[in-house]
């Protein structure tokens, strides 16, 4: 009997296959395929909220490529659980928003399910090889979804997305091989800190991550790590990676660089972000929702799961640079969003700005900041999905996305205007809405961190002006004032399907904004543990 986390990958795959069956049931299969990971993720998240802890739960392990030490090993901590829940939610909402897709709907939904399975694979796996495989598999359905179902310049945008992200992640493959290659065939014995055993050993210190613990008379503790790809085992060897040399630098530096490049392209961080506006503008609404709601988070997730735990000394050394990149993204993204006239592009740049807070929060290495970065990833998933849905709503009616081509839509579409206002205010970081929590935590974390981070936080604080300006200016130009075009008076307000897609997000944005404690409590232990792990690398 396979466990819940495996189902969260298998169910979308199976539903994807069922989608291809003839008939009109594809969308129902797709919806079900998204609801399974949502249920699993929510259950796991609830467990972490009730019983906070930094350990991996729902762990299952099946042999797969035992000869190289790779296996289907899955498990989630608070971070993984939150990401899994988000991915299920966003996929379900994207499916609802594409409910009436007419262009080859069976293949469309099947590809979305394949994409979802690959993303969930990244979120639940504890095996680096599987992580990499899922990471690359994601590109294929995305390439097809943008390249076939996209707008006029879909082929350019799809190719750009593909080349950009592939080029970003190619070094990760090299890193993966090197890490394996530099581990002796018989495994490596490494010293372990007492706190790591405290945090992760379930049997009072007899084993750690399934490896027997050896204790010596001088009080030191060690485990013998086999050659393989288990992330928890690789993490134990981080000191070894610092010592190994490759290409004139330490293996740790190379590996850090490799993950960083792959992650920063996905986030996306300035100046590696220009694939995003093209992809968003060309992608159909539902694919934009998936892209902004989940795909960007994978970059942040890779930093939290790979770069920081595997190479803590490098994270400590280069943290300031990630903070600077984050702040540049926050300010430049907001600034450029202010100058956009294409609504989708505007939301895309607001994503660049908001995702910068994830980098800033993580880089400062405070519990508040690191947790805030992850909260921001979740809340941005809710907020930007909603914004893209709302752009899609008026695109369906007006067949253009020019922000100056609207005006006064609040009169014919009052419900739409209210939801747009809530989404914009969440994007502008209004307290009481979800967008505020992550931003405030990332800022407060930076303020209380050492080194250059208070300065970076102070610069990032200026973005509250810009985000209010571009978000509310957009609301004004779209919804308020007298009706700019008389033909818009005939526009209908949100219909049942559109409400079904947007209202759950609105409710979540308000609930998380007013009472963020469960989410934060679920995320905090894992983030605190990460910060402590990286800080333990201090010389």
């Amino acid at each position: 009997m396979i466990g819940a986390l495996t189902w969260s990958v298998v169910a979308p795959l199976a539903c994807g296959a069922l989608c291809l069956l003839p008939g009109r049931a594809a969308r129902w299969f797709a919806l079900f395929g998204a609801l399974v990971p949502l249920a699993v993720g929510l259950a796991a998240l609830g467990d972490f909220a009730r019983h906070p802890g930094a350990d991996f739960r729902l762990v299952e392990s099946y042999p797969w490529a035992a000869s190289v030490g790779a296996g289907w090993t899955v498990g989630v901590d608070g971070i993984g659980a939150a990401m899994l829940a988000l991915s299920g939610l966003v996929a379900a909402i994207a499916t609802i928003s594409a409910w009436n897709e007419t262009r080859n709907p069976r293949v469309y939904h099947a590809l979305v399910m394949l994409l979802l399975a690959a993303m969930n694979g990244v979120f639940v796996t504890l095996d680096l090889l599987v992580f990499y495989v899922c990471w690359e598999v994601m590109l294929v359905p995305m390439l097809a979804l943008i390249g076939v179902w996209g707008g006029e310049q879909r082929r350019y945008a799809a190719l750009k997305f593909f080349v950009y992200t592939l080029a970003g992640s190619v070094l990760m493959l090299a890193m993966l091989i090197m890490l394996w290659n530099r581990t002796p065939a018989g495994g490596r014995t490494v010293a372990v800190q007492a706190i790591e055993i405290q945090a992760h050993s379930h049997d009072g210190g007899a084993t750690l991550h399934g490896l027997p613990v050896e204790r010596f008379s001088d009080g030191s503790v060690s485990v013998t790590v086999p050659r393989g790809f288990d992330l928890r085992h690789l993490q134990l060897q981080w000191r070894t990676w610092e010592g190994e040399r490759v290409l004139g630098m330490s293996l740790a530096a190379f590996g850090f660089l490799a993950v960083l490049l792959a992650a920063l392209v996905k986030v996306p961080a300035v100046p590696l972000h220009t694939w995003l506006p093209h992809a968003h503008v060309q992608a159909p609404t539902a694919i934009s929702v998936l892209l902004a709601g989940i795909l960007l988070k994978l970059g942040v997730y890779a930093l939290y799961r790979l770069a920081w735990p595997l190479f803590p000394a490098q994270a400590l050394h280069w943290g300031w640079l990630i903070g600077v990149i984050g702040v540049i993204g926050i300010l430049w993204g907001a600034w450029v969003a202010l100058g956009q006239r294409d609504l989708k592009r505007l939301v895309a740049y607001s994503s660049v700005s908001h995702m910068g807070f994830c980098l800033l929060g993580l880089a400062g290495l405070t519990a508040a900041g690191a947790t805030g970065g992850m909260v921001q990833a979740v809340t941005h998933g809710l907020g930007s999905s909603l914004l893209f849905l709302l752009v899609g709503v008026i695109y369906d009616r007006a067949h253009h996305r020019n922000v100056d081509g609207f005006g006064g839509l609040a009169t014919p579409m009052p419900r739409y205007a209210w939801i747009l206002l809530i989404a914009a205010l969440a994007g502008a970081g209004l307290p009481g809405l979800a967008g505020f929590v992550g931003e405030a935590m990332a800022l407060f974390g930076s303020f209380t961190a050492g080194g250059p981070f208070p300065w970076l936080g102070a610069l990032a604080a200026l973005s509250v002006i810009l985000s209010a300006a571009y978000m509310l200016w957009t609301v004004k130009r779209v919804a308020y004032g007298p009706l700019a075009h008389p033909e818009h008076a005939a526009y209908t307000d949100l219909d049942a399907r559109e409400l079904a897609a947007t209202v759950p997000l609105v409710v979540l944005i308000i609930v998380v904004g007013v009472w963020p404690a469960p989410l934060v409590d679920a995320l905090r232990p894992a983030c605190e543990n990460l910060v402590a792990h990286v800080r333990s690398a201090l010389p």
Binding site: V336, Y480, P516
Partner: protein, 682 residues
């Protein structure tokens, strides 16, 4: 004994009103108004009860406190804290909210959007009470931002209204060459956006101030550093522990205070962020009456007073000077306004400046009590003034131009009398509340000038000049509307007092403008210091204020009631000054050119092209063909260039592998020569 639920109930009642009225069908505005007013009245009653328990003893009360978020070693909480200042403020907020809701039921009786007003208004009041009753700075910030939301909703209440191009204010400004830069300048949709963004400019500073206090809190190892009691502990001795942005000690504390004050400059419409408030009168007059009185602008003054123990002398000097400059600047602009709400709007800005002058004088000079005292008296008479203005606008079928009014005293006696007492209060006439509170402000500033000397006299002198002008322009306002002859019969002939319940609201508010109702008691409740020096300063200030009142008020009566020619002659004689005031001293224009058009619309657009080039731009919008050059030089273009170069290298190197013997030999020769050359050179 104070019941534990009391303060929380006061805080949550307006939120309950907002939720309840949100559920009332939009077609039943009277029901929604009644419901909201009823809940607000209950809230006011509870606030009065709480005040009677707290004010006489003069001790602060800490209500229930809950953690809201644990950030890992750093806790943010929610809870209530009430001291005499907060208790009285809560009473005033509740009282004015109740009265304004009742009044609004009449004011919007034929407005189809009226059903929206009660819930937005109640949300606004909830936000303000959050600021007033918060027991920590973080919760204040949350309330602060929600106040911004409430004002955004109310200013943009008539969201579909087009820009008022034939508005007197607009025409005058356009004639003077200052306004009309953006055609939709005076639409509610623009005003709400402007108010929110201008406030956010101040909030960015507020956040940095919070950052300084958080860093100090972490340095001193306090788990929840932002509660008022812990802040006082951390900032003991006028210095903060730790470093932040390269500052430490008392400099760091000054930074924190200036950050908080920066937020107050935005919210309380102080120079140079004051320009949003006059535009905000695009909202319903009833909304203005609460924004200008008990909520929104009051929040800034209240927060500075709440954080008063933190403020260093350096920070207070900045507070005093900004207040003084704003006081005179706004008063000078108010003198030449012809829109009846614009005069009141600038008078609010000016009076808020006066409050900051008092706060800048320091606690020893009685600044805190004076500033807060003036906030309270001002809240009541300014609310009354705006409600009277609403009656006049309603009576004159929406006209707001002072040129076309006059002689309304006979047609609407209740409004004229109530506006009259409110004007007497704002100009500080003896026996009115403004006389007492303005005297306290000037006395504090005077005493501060005497003790500190030198530049410390500046705020006092600016406040005196502002008070002189206030006497002039407020009397001019009343005389222009209510006294003399009817200038435009078409506008005025339907005028009458509002319905009985709206008139009753005016009549209920009017006694609060009289000094003996509450003023001496207020000074005692707020803990104004008593000494020989204070008494002496009060006498001097009273003399100065009376002199200013006689000169300013006398001129207004002469020039606007007795002989219009005097006003015209004065305007001619002071033409450059008159024009500068008419052009709002160029500040609005500067903001427009620099930020709205320059940075906002211009440079951001350029940045967008720098980032992505001009490709696939919207054909319907741009018209012009995409520019190849900017495409190639944009960030995206450069990255595409890398891709293109790789492709070119691939294509051209493919040519070397196509099996032509001559090419291979040529390539080998070139490489060999290069190696030889390198060998010789090295």
């Amino acid at each position: 004994m104070i019941p534990a639920w009391l303060s929380s109930a006061i805080l949550l009642a307006p939120l309950a009103a907002a939720v309840l009225t949100l559920l009332v069908p939009r077609s039943r505005p009277a029901l929604a108004h009644g419901l909201a007013a009823g809940v607000m009245a209950g809230c006011t009653a509870l606030a009065v009860w709480l005040a009677t328990l707290i004010v006489p003893g003069g001790v602060a009360y800490q209500g229930p406190h809950l953690p809201w978020l644990d950030l890992g070693g750093l806790v943010l909480g929610v809870g209530t804290f009430v001291d005499p200042m907060g208790a009285i403020m809560a009473v005033i907020v509740g009282l004015l909210a109740t009265l304004v809701l009742i009044y609004n039921a009449w004011y919007m009786h034929d407005d189809e959007l009226a059903g929206r007003f009660p819930w937005q208004f109640s949300l606004f009041v909830f936000a303000m009470l959050t600021v007033v009753l918060a027991d920590n700075l973080f919760m204040s910030f949350v309330g602060w931002e929600l106040v911004g939301l409430g004002s955004y909703l109310l200013i943009g209440f008539w969201f579909a209204k087009p820009a008022v191009k034939d508005d007197a204010f607009y025409q005058q400004m356009k004639g003077a060459g200052a306004r009309g830069i953006l055609e939709d300048r005076l639409s509610p949709a623009h005003a709400q956006l402007k108010a929110f963004v201008m406030n956010r400019v101040g909030d960015a500073g507020f956040l940095i101030g919070i950052g300084a206090l958080l860093a100090a809190g972490v340095a001193s190892g306090v788990r929840e550093p932002l509660t008022w009691s812990n802040l006082a502990l951390i900032a003991q001795g006028g210095a903060l522990p730790g470093t932040f942005l390269g500052l430490s000690g008392s400099e760091l504390l000054t930074l924190a205070c200036l950050g908080i004050f920066c937020g107050a400059v935005g919210k309380s419409a102080q120079f140079p962020l004051h320009t949003w408030l006059p535009d905000a009168m695009q909202g319903p007059t009833t909304a203005s009456s609460i924004i200008h009185a008990a909520t929104m602008v009051a929040a800034g003054v209240f927060l500075v007073a709440r954080c008063y123990p933190l403020f260093t002398p350096d920070a207070l000097a900045v507070v005093g000077w900004i207040g003084g400059i704003t006081c005179l600047l706004a008063a000078s602009i108010a003198c030449v306004q012809w829109d009846l709400k614009a005069v009141l709007a600038y008078s609010t800005v000016s009076q808020l400046g006066l409050m900051f002058v008092a706060l800048g004088a320091g606690a020893a000079a009685g600044g805190q009590a004076a500033g807060i005292g003036h906030l309270f008296t001002h809240a009541l008479f300014k609310c009354l003034l705006f409600l009277c203005a609403g009656s006049v606008i309603h009576a004159c079928a929406g006209h707001q131009d002072l040129h076309r009014m006059g002689g309304l005293m006979r047609r609407m006696p209740i409004t004229a009398a109530c506006a009259g007492v409110a004007v007497l209060a704002i100009i500080g006439a003896p026996f009115f509340s403004g006389f007492w509170s303005k005297d306290a402000v000037l006395a504090a500033a005077l005493l501060h000038g005497q003790t500190a000397g030198g530049a410390a006299w500046g705020p006092f002198l600016l406040a005196c000049a502002g008070s002189l002008l206030t006497a002039g322009y407020m009397l001019r306002w009343w005389i222009r509307i209510f006294a003399g002859h009817e200038r435009d019969h078409a506008v005025c002939h339907h005028a009458h007092d509002p319905a009985w319940y709206a008139s009753a609201v005016l009549i209920v508010l009017a006694p609060f403008t009289v000094m003996f109702v509450w003023s001496p008691w207020l000074g005692h409740a707020l803990g104004a210091p008593h000494s020989e020096a204070h008494a002496h300063a009060h006498h001097s200030a009273m003399l100065v204020a009376s002199g200013l009142l006689l000169v300013g008020g006398g001129f207004a009566v002469l020039a606007f009631w007795w002989k219009d020619a005097i006003a015209a002659a004065a305007a001619r004689a002071l033409r450059p000054l008159h024009n500068a005031c008419g052009e709002l001293w160029g500040i609005d224009r500067l903001w427009d050119v620099l930020f709205t058009r320059g940075l906002g619309a211009g440079l951001a657009r350029v940045s967008a092209v720098l980032d992505l080039g001009t490709r696939d731009r919207l054909a319907s919008l741009e018209g012009a063909a995409p520019s190849k050059l900017s495409d190639a030089l944009s960030l995206d273009g450069l990255i595409d260039g890398i891709g293109r170069t790789c492709r070119q290298i691939g294509l051209s190197s493919a040519a070397w592998h196509d099996g032509r013997l001559g090419a291979y030999i040529g390539l080998a020769a070139v490489i060999g020569a290069a190696i030889l050359l390198l060998g010789v050179l090295l």
